[in-house]
């Protein structure tokens, strides 16, 4: 449906993104995450047709819409876009905003479409209001309805939740996902918030310095990050130093484990093992003891920061009734079903994130 092939974009001599390739099937929702300035919004704007590529191409339903020497105008792409600031037209009512892209339709058809869309986004009675009379969340829904009205092939969402209160975001993200799935719309979302990405996306791309670090499902991204940056950016975790005993086994202060994913390591190599909070299980029977350095109550769980005997800090997500005071010794066990490790380089000093 949507495919980017080795896309590179430059402003003057300054390359913003390069070597971007990914594709989405019909109805799939993709998401680009990364710190600000990593080029994710630039990619979105290139798909919409506001940026021309320096090399590579963008294809829409098999047709090339952007390449170094040809560029289809944005208004001819049939791509919907929800903007970060919503970009709703303040001089028009909600209904007029939604029907703005339906120039060819008759008045009755427009009204019917508007009614249907307002129903879809859950604002059936607000058609006659002006934009300034709506709350932020309502404006967001109107922006979505407006982008969906011309029945685009692809929908782009640029940081769609950044201007909303944190509590709204998750609800809205799930609602929007439901609507997109219902209409079988291919969508690309840009955000700096990984939880938004987890809530919305089928596929997630993590970007850094204008390059796509990994393009994978949320599960894979979390449990099998392709790079240190991805491991750091997605989820919580620490890097525990270890030494390879042979090509398979790594020794850490929490025991000896078996790895499968890093092919070219030799015995004696120094490595870092990624430990997620859910990898460490609180077990009073265990021989391994750790000291509670800090704790954060999370309702059903408590997130402990534990100091190991060697001084390394790890996280442990324990059920809430396992309540221990700071300074107490508790038993832990490492429960890894797949081991993620990275070769140690001198330049990288990894700690708690």
């Amino acid at each position: 449906m949507l495919a980017l092939e080795q896309l590179a974009i430059a402003y003057g001599r300054h390359t913003v993104v390069k070597d971007i390739s990914f594709s989405l099937a019909e109805g799939q929702i993709g998401c680009l995450v990364g710190p600000s300035g990593c080029g994710k919004t630039t990619i979105l704007r290139a798909i919409a047709g506001f940026e021309a590529p320096q090399s590579g191409q963008i294809r829409l339903q098999g047709q090339t819409v952007s390449s170094a020497n040809q560029q289809l105008a944005p208004e001819q792409r049939k791509i919907g876009m929800v903007f970060q600031d919503f970009a709703l037209f303040p001089h028009l009512t909600v209904a007029d905003n939604i029907s703005f892209g339906l120039q060819q339709l008759s008045k009755a058809d427009k009204a019917a479409k508007v009614k249907q869309l307002l129903q879809l986004v859950g604002l059936p009675d607000l058609g006659e209001r002006y934009i300034h009379q709506l709350s932020g969340g309502q404006q967001q829904r109107v922006a979505l309805a407006r982008a969906l009205a011309p029945e685009p092939k692809v929908l782009l969402l640029d940081e769609p939740f950044s201007s909303l209160d944190a509590e709204f975001r998750e609800v809205l993200a799930r609602d929007i996902r439901k609507i997109l799935k219902q209409l079988q719309i291919t969508a690309v979302l840009v955000t700096h918030d990984q939880f938004e990405a987890f809530a919305m996306a089928d596929m997630i791309g993590v970007m850094q310095h204008g390059q796509l670090q990994q393009w994978a499902t949320p599960y894979e991204l979390y449990h099998r990050p392709a790079s240190r940056f991805v491991a750091d950016f997605v989820g919580r975790g620490v890097m525990l130093p270890g030494t390879m005993l042979d090509q398979q086994r790594v020794e850490t202060c929490l025991g000896i484990f078996r790895q499968r994913y890093l092919p070219d390591v030799q015995a004696g190599d120094q490595v870092d093992v990624l430990i997620r909070p859910d990898d460490i299980v609180h077990d009073d029977e265990s021989a391994i003891q750790a000291t509670v350095a800090d704790k954060a109550f999370r309702g059903s769980h408590i997130l402990y920061t534990l100091a190991l005997t060697g001084g390394e800090l790890v996280y442990c997500l324990a059920l809430s009734h396992h309540n221990h005071a700071i300074g107490e010794q508790i038993g832990i066990r490492l429960d890894l079903d797949h081991l993620v490790l990275f070769p140690r380089t001198l330049s990288v000093v990894s700690g708690l994130n």
Binding site: P74, E75, F83, F100, G101, I131, R146
Partner: protein, 547 residues
């Protein structure tokens, strides 16, 4: 309660001068209490229709012209990257420095029968008088053209800001919804800028209604020239005041219309995070076209007439640059300086009173007094003249009855009358600047300084004076230049044999001594450039802040 109401010094300090400033306008409207049936029948039968129709056509035509030139150039400047754009965006403001009556007579000098354009045409084609048709500049159409050429910057300035404030994502949203950039302009950008454009248009139309110099010179009968004729020709101050009231109602109606069009404007910015639109790049041929389009109003509205004035002034400066000229400069400058000082002092008084007493008894009189900026100079002059003449007559009468002496003219025909008229007309200019400056000094700054042990007077000296300096200077400059350019009120109210640059330029031009009028006119234009430069610099700074 009543006691505090009566003995609040701030209230009286505001109420008395505010009422004095509002008096001329009140007098004008009160003139209708005593209808002059005889004269009105005469006016209706002869010239009234001309006055109404011509004034309306003049204002409407000027508004339309300013709308087209101002909005067009503002859109091109705000959207396209082209050669010279950076300079043009402030060059387009230059015609503000050119008073309409001055551009009118420079164009007359260029375009009339003996002027260089027609002479050149005749010599090229061998025509002689009567062989060809040439548009008559001294006509209603000519007056509209002249006024539009110098008044379009009002629309340009406001429209450019409005376009620049529109978030870039609006255009992108339009395009993802299937609109071309051209359709976006008509369906989104223009409607969003409409309040700003209408405000600019209303300002231009108010100036057109108020214009006296141009229409008088071109011989187009309008309200303003009619008021002069009714008073000085027919000798009826009362009927002149009634005509003035009618003209003022037109202007006030415009003012209301403008307010109404802005009623929703504050919503237009809500929730719009600003990202300035990237300028569109076009090929060299289109760049040249854009350059030509944006340059032509500057050339026609400023460069050409200014150059004409300069060349006239250079050819005969040895004759015109004499003691008389310096006397004119001294008269104009000292008068303008006095008026500016008075106006700024009043503005300071009103602004501080409004800050210290937030009640309608202070606010409303100030608003009433500031309404004068919408009232044409001719009207104010009559509104000032009538009560002062009444005062002089009665004092004279009483003095003769009681003491057997005649006091003659005490106030009318003195500089006091002129200064009152200028204060009425330009209070809003200084008040606007001073209030904006004062608004930047948050009340908590006073409180902070007081809590650190400063007395109110020290707060004034250490906090307010340094923070207000800029606004006061700007207000002084603006009023100074406005007074220097003012023509009709000065013409009516000046003391006998007291001439200013504007009056002299107008008189010389009316006597067809265009070349001799060039030097005083050029002086006015040059001083008029000062506030334009100030304006250009401050808008440029603001634009850089957003870009």
């Amino acid at each position: 309660m009543l006691k505090s109401l009566l003995f609040d010094r701030w209230r009286w300090a505001v109420l008395l001068p505010a009422l004095l400033l509002a008096l001329p306008v009140i007098i004008i409207f009160a003139s209708w209490l005593e209808p002059q049936t005889e004269i009105w029948r005469h006016l209706r039968q002869t010239v009234l229709a001309d006055y109404v129709v011509n004034s309306l056509l003049l204002a409407g035509g000027t508004g339309l012209g300013a709308l087209l030139i101002g909005t067009g150039s503002a859109w091109l400047i705000s959207q396209y990257q082209f050669f010279g754009r950076r300079y043009l965006q402030w060059l387009l403001l230059l015609p503000l420095a050119m008073p309409a009556y001055i551009i009118a007579y420079t164009y007359t000098g260029m375009l009339d029968f003996a002027g260089p354009v027609q002479s050149q045409l005749r010599s090229w084609f061998g025509w002689s008088f009567g062989d060809y048709w040439f548009p008559e500049i001294r006509s209603l159409g000519g007056a509209i053209l002249m006024l539009a050429l110098v008044l379009y910057p009002y629309v340009y300035m406001l429209a450019r800001n409005a376009f620049a404030e529109q978030s870039a994502s609006l255009l992108e949203a339009s395009r993802t919804l299937g609109l071309t950039p051209r359709q976006h302009f008509w369906k989104v950008a223009l409607p969003l800028a409409r309040p700003a454009i209408l405000t600019g248009m209303a300002l231009a139309m108010m100036e057109a209604f108020a214009d006296y110099g141009t229409v008088q010179y071109f011989g187009v009968p309008t309200f303003t020239t009619g008021i002069f004729r009714t008073w000085f020709g027919m000798g009826s101050a009362q009927a002149a005041a009634q005509l003035a009231a009618l003209l003022t109602s037109f202007v006030l109606f415009l003012l209301l219309l403008e307010k109404w069009s802005r009623r929703k404007v504050r919503y237009y910015h809500q929730g719009q995070k600003h990202s300035a639109p990237a300028l569109r790049r076009v090929g060299p041929l289109r760049q040249l076209t854009l350059l030509a389009l944006c340059l032509s109003p500057v050339v026609l509205g400023f460069i050409l007439p200014a150059w004409r004035l300069l060349s006239w002034a250079l050819t005969n400066w040895q004759r015109t640059l004499n003691a008389n000229f310096w006397q004119l400069v001294w008269n104009s400058f000292s008068l303008a300086a006095m008026a500016a000082l008075l106006s700024v002092l009043l503005a300071l008084l009103f602004a501080y009173a409004k800050r210290l007493r937030r009640d309608p008894l202070v606010r409303l009189p100030v608003q009433l007094a500031a309404l004068g900026y919408a009232v044409p100079g001719t009207v104010i002059a009559i509104g000032v003249m009538i009560p002062l003449a009444w005062f002089d007559r009665h004092v004279d009468l009483l003095a003769e009855q009681w003491f057997g002496i005649r006091t003659g003219l005490l106030l009318s025909g003195t500089l006091a009358a002129l200064l009152l008229a200028y204060s009425v007309r330009f209070l809003a200019v200084s008040l606007h600047g001073i209030e904006a400056g004062l608004a930047r000094i948050k009340p908590n700054m006073d409180n902070a300084a007081r809590s650190m042990g400063y007395s109110p007077l020290q707060v004034l000296r250490k906090v307010h004076v340094p923070l207000l300096k800029g606004s006061v200077f700007t207000a002084l400059l603006l009023v100074f230049v406005d007074v220097l350019k003012e023509l009709p009120a000065t013409l009516i109210l000046r003391p006998f044999n007291f001439n200013t640059l504007a009056v002299r330029a107008h008189e010389l031009a009316s006597d067809e001594r265009l070349a001799d009028a060039a030097l005083p006119a050029l002086a006015i234009v040059l001083v008029g450039l000062l506030p334009v430069i100030l304006l250009a610099r401050s808008t440029e700074r603001r634009m850089q802040g957003t870009e």
